[in-house]
């Protein structure tokens, strides 16, 4: 427990018959990044809200920084920063005022709060917008301000619920860099995401949730290796040789073989398959325009883990669903 910044055992949360969490365990070593991955309704936000002291679990225990999130909630709040799924900024206030507000609430003197606000605004590229009300910010700017607000108190543990949803690719990369910078400084981060690439880029460990359960856990590479195998793609020069290619692949690869866009795709777990396939096709006189063998993407792993029906959220949500689930 000493080395784990976040620990959870058997967390359960029910919502009037709806399963939020059906008993999950988590362990996040201090200074590392855990990505909670899962489709809509998997329970990601529920987990973050329990760990962030906003929600009580029905069963199970969780500790942040060694402190129980229910019994010692107030102390836990002193350790954490939380950026929720819905922006936690006051839209009528300027960027500076938002950050000064948080600093003052945390007990900083006026001048110190201003200085900290200026520092964070600079760090997140919001200097030019510092004196404008947040209502005039773009979605990405608001997200950055929200993240900055969580950092005013220099939290040791940071929770980010879908931090990059709605950001353009450039802002996303910037936010990743910011998170990585925090981790280099020793912060522990638990983030949720629906972007597998994000988990791949940022996380030391990934936990895949589905319908309130952990369906897989491990490092991004480990997950890809253990579950995905490698993806083989063969594209013949002549489209009428596709059948031959497909038959050969079926003989040797044994996995599922599909023909898409004039190319044959197969999943293979044994790297020796590739030379064998090439030899066979060469003998058959098939010329290939393109050959590739690559690690399965995390997307492929993800889709293979998550039941398709559950990807349809049982409770329809409208665009106005706001605030946070109780």
């Amino acid at each position: 427990m000493d080395d784990n910044a976040i620990e959870a055992e058997g967390l359960v949360k029910q919502f009037r018959g709806n399963v939020g969490l059906a008993g999950i365990d988590l362990r996040v070593p201090a200074g590392s990044v855990l990505a909670l991955l899962g489709p809509n309704g998997a329970g990601k936000t529920t987990a973050v809200r329990i760990l962030g002291t906003l929600l009580r679990p029905d069963a199970g225990h969780a500790r942040v920084g060694g402190l129980d999130v229910v019994a010692r909630a107030h102390e836990v709040r002193g350790l954490i920063g939380l950026t929720g799924q819905y922006a936690g900024v006051d839209e009528t206030l300027t960027g500076t005022e938002n950050l000064v507000l948080v600093g003052r609430l945390l007990g900083l003197a006026r001048r110190a709060a201003r200085a900290r606000a200026a520092e964070l605004l600079a760090e997140f590229g919001l200097v030019d917008a510092a004196t404008r009300p947040a209502a005039t910010y773009s979605g990405g700017m608001r997200r950055r301000l929200d993240l900055a607000a969580s950092l005013v108190g220099r939290p040791r543990v940071l929770f980010l619920d879908e931090p990059t949803t709605g950001l353009d690719p450039a802002s996303r990369v910037e936010l990743w860099a910011a998170v990585r910078g925090l981790v280099d400084g020793g912060t522990t981060v638990l983030l949720t995401t629906q972007y597998l690439e994000e988990a791949d880029r940022l996380a030391d460990d990934v936990v895949v949730l589905d319908r309130g359960r952990v369906v897989a856990a491990g490092t991004p590479d480990g997950l890809k290796a253990s579950l995905g195998g490698s993806a083989l793609e063969l594209r013949p020069v002549l489209a009428d040789r596709l059948d031959v290619v497909a038959t050969t692949a079926r003989d040797l690869a044994r996995g599922e073989v599909t023909v898409v866009d004039g190319a044959v795709r197969a999943t293979v777990s044994d790297p020796d398959v590739l030379p064998a396939v090439l030899r066979r096709l060469d003998e058959a006189g098939v010329h290939l325009a393109e050959v590739s063998l690559r690690r399965a993407s995390l997307d492929e792993v993800f889709l293979s883990l998550v039941d398709t029906p559950s990807r349809v959220d049982p409770t329809p949500r409208t665009a106005t669903r706001t605030g946070s689930p109780a």
């Binding site: 909630a73 005022e97 507000l101």
Partner: protein, 264 residues
Amino acid sequence: MILTSTPTRSVGPLTALRQAMTMAWRSLLQIRHKPTELLDLSVQPVMFTLLFTYVFGGAIAGSPGAYLDFAFGGLVVQNALFLSIYAAIGLATDLRQGLHDRFRSMPIARSAPLAGRLLADVVRQLWSFAVLLVVGFVLGFRPDAGPAALLGAAAVLVVFTLAFSWIPVWIGVLARDPEKVQVFGFVLVLPITFTSNALVPLDTMPGPLRAWVALNPVTAANDTLRSLLTGTTPLGPPLLATLAWSAAVTLVFATAAMRALARR
């Protein structure tokens, strides 16, 4: 599922007060960005006072001047009640966005967000009361009240409206929608002030209505303000009734609102 019942020692009363004041500062900052809010706080009382004094004043009391002497206290109470939805609107806005969750995830007093809103409302109330006094003075109303009575009037106004603002706060917590709070405020405040003796004397009303009007807490507040501002009617009974009503309403609706807020 009441998180506030956790055994964790939260913050001391002085720190809690400081945090509430920070929250109030934040709530009042909005006025700086939306100066029109200050107009809201000033135009409506001026308009209502002018309307009632000059449109109805002659018919009800014989002359606008005589009417103003009678109605001024009631107009002050009515205006204060209209303002008592600000805290609820602010809270509903915070709940609807993620802001309230941000506050809840911080190591601050649980009371700070709402206490700050209420504190800011006190400032609004005092501002609006001052505007009304000036308008009344311009129209010829001369309060027969020393500084102590004026302060007393302000205090009663604050106590009474703070108590009643728990009703919209409760609605705001349940609905999490500032517009619903606004609509509700209107639907509640209009009838409750019109069926008081704020604008029309009690003895001109039909029997059954009169029974309600006499009971109406707004009537008690009107009479308290009248007494403090003009010194021509007794103070004791309406003041007691006003305080009793304030305590009762606070007890019921603050409990309901806090419970709903903790249950989220």
